[in-house]
Structure formats: structure tokens, C-alpha cells
Amino acid sequence: MERPRSPRCSAPAPASVTLAQLLLLVQQGQELPGLERRHIAAMHGEPTASQLPRRPKPWEAAALAESVPPPTLRIGTAPAEPGLAKAATAPSSWHTVGS
């Protein structure tokens, strides 16, 4: 990731060729500069346990007529979840056209 970055107009560098230059190299079947090949595999671990409660989305907070306090006051101290929004289902008025 810490490769030198060259100006676009200079000779080809290991990275940061322009899109046009890259497409030309692909069309010509040439080797692409700086191509990185990785062999990464899944570690099959468990995620770190969550410690933060879910924050209400801005539109959920608005629907509950709550004022949204400044975010800095809420780091790590997010309030408990408000009541669940009313269960919604896809309105029957939705219908497709042309099929």
C-alpha cells in the first residue's frame, strides 16, 4: 500500500496508471504494473461481542418526535431503544405495470 505515487503524465509507475492506460494494457494483453495477487482465506472466527445498543435512525427518531441530541453526547451512551416502530407490510396498493 505504501508504493510511491507518480504523476499521471509521467512514465508508467507500479501503481496509479490512468484508466485509459490500464484499458490499453488490457486490450494489448500486456502485464499490468503492480498487480497484487493475494491468497487470503476465511479465518472462521466468531465476531467480537457487541457492546453498544442500536441507535435509532434519524427518521425513527423523527417519527417518535424526539429531538436528536448532539452526537458527541451519545458516544457509547446511546439511549435504550425506543418502542418498536409499528409493524408495516407492503401496501396492497402497490402493483406492477407492463407485465
Binding site: M1, E2, R3, R5, P14, A15, S16, V17, L19, L22, L23, V26, L32, G34, L35, E36, R37, R38, H39, I40, A41, A42, M43, H44, G45, E46, P47, T48, A49, S50, Q51, L52, R54, R55, K57, P58, W59, A62, P71, T72, R74, I75, A78, E81, L84, A85, A87, A88, T89, A90, P91, S93, W94, H95, T96, V97, G98, S99
Partner: protein
Amino acid sequence: MSAVCGGAARTLRTPGRHGYAAEFSPYLPGRLACATAQHYGIAGCGTLLILDPDEAGLRLFRSFDWNDGLFDVTWSENNEHVLITCSGDGSLQLWDTAKAAGPLQVYKEHTQEVYSVDWSQTRGEQLVVSGSWDQTVKLWDPTVGKSLCTFRGHESIIYSTIWSPHIPGCFASASGDQTLRIWDVKAAGVRIVIPAHQAEILSCDWCKYNENLLVTGAVDCSLRGWDLRNVRQPVFELLGHTYAIRRVKFSPFHASVLASCSYDFTVRFWNFSKPDSLLETVEHHTEFTCGLDFSLQSPTQVADCSWDETIKIYDPACLTIPA
């Protein structure tokens, strides 16, 4: 990676990595995930970048490499450490920001590039949808190794899959087949097919304050609004971009404000309820601009990423000055 604070935008340079998607954390203010690919996603590997703001601008908190280009990213809605990416090799990857290495899990079922991934927004569900060049959408429970369901019907590349923020089990998809489709997980099938453009549709999103309203962005340079109660014609059309629109998102704070980014290098902000809908055109990138997100904590903050190897976080004037 070097952080630069130039002008109003905080910038992180990502040498050798081209930005495809940017997503703010739903938990930590200012934390941003960016899915990137080497060589514009055409060849090589990919990197997931996790950024935090600091006094100097932006600080790289973590980076995770993957074997192929990463095209989209979504944060978990029930664990602040977890996110999922999707990549050019047809796989999804689950990452843990509390661990230095990863991924923890890889889900490989799609047979071609996976261009979109989204974690459900409604409470009581923890589901992920992915959309692929193989013309299928897959539904995942990240705690289960295999997909729960495959949705077929699109007749071309699927570029975008987004959950409804209001209706459980409902998501939208946008495709190169020029349709926007609305799907119901419970019915395991499509609800609505909307021939939304006469061009490839690269992006779609749901309004956060009207459960019937969506927007599409297409190769024809237009944004169109769709009311699902009557989809015979768009409820609005926004013109101004000069090349394909790569991504569009509704504001989490303003019912009629949205942002779009484009292959014309610009990010544009719109208010579709106003006669002069175009609020602002941001021209701070020098290549295709592919990733875009609104902050969930700050009503004025936006992030974007581009193929010019930069990620930017900024407060556009149109959002900071009351309309």
C-alpha cells in the same frame, strides 16, 4: 496512506486503490468504511478501509485486503464491529474491526462479480441482500454459511440492492435490464417491476420519510422518483449530470433531499420538492465518483470516494445553510 485536510473537505489518499463505496458506521460518529479495488476493479486485489476523523483530517484505523476488488460494503445493524463486503470473485466477506486480520467468514455462491450488498434496516431482522452480475439476488443470514434464498427475474447485471427502511422483508433492486424491482422476502418473489429508464440503472434508494417513494439513477444521466402506488410515470425527474449516475442516496434527515455521484466526476445535491431542484454541484474529484453516503449522526456531513484515489468527508454548503 496520508491524510490531508484541504479546504472544507477532509481527504484521505489511497494510493493504488480506487474507491467504489463509502458507508458511515451506524454506531460510531464519523467512522467510515470504504470498499476499494486495485486497477479500477478491472484486475488485482481489493482493500476495505476503516477511517476515523481526527484533528488533522482522516486517520486510517484499519485496512483489510482481499483477493479481488471490493465493490460495496455494509455495516452490521446489530454489532458495531462487524461489516460485510462483496467482491469481483463472486464472494461476500464478513469482517471484524476489533481484529487486526480477517475476514472471519467468506460466503461464495454468486458465479460472477457481486456489485451490491446491504444489511436490513428494519428492527427484528438481521438479513443481508447481495446483487450480482450473475443476474441473481441472494438473501443471507450472516450467522448461516449458506444463502437462505435466491431471487431470479432480472435479465441483466444487478447493480444495486437496498432494503426498505420501513417495510420488513422488502427490498429494491436496480439492473442493467432497465428495470427497478421491488421484492418481498416473505413471498419469496417480486412484487413490482418498473421499467424505470430506457438505459441501464446503476443505483436506487428508498426515501426515509415516505415508504412508497424510491429514486433511481441511470446511464441516461437522469434521476427519477417513483411512487409505488402509481408507477406509470415518475413523480420527479432530475437532470444535470453529464455522464452516467453511479450512486444515489436519500438524506436520512431531510424528506426531499438526495445526493448523487456520477462518472462526470461530480456529486450533486437535490431537493426534488423545489422548482429549482439542483441545490449544489460539488466538483472536488478528478475521476469517476462511485461511493457516496450521508452521515447518520450529523445532518450536514457527507462522504464520497472516487477512482482518483481519494476519500473525502465534508459538509456541503447546501446542507449547512438552512434552505
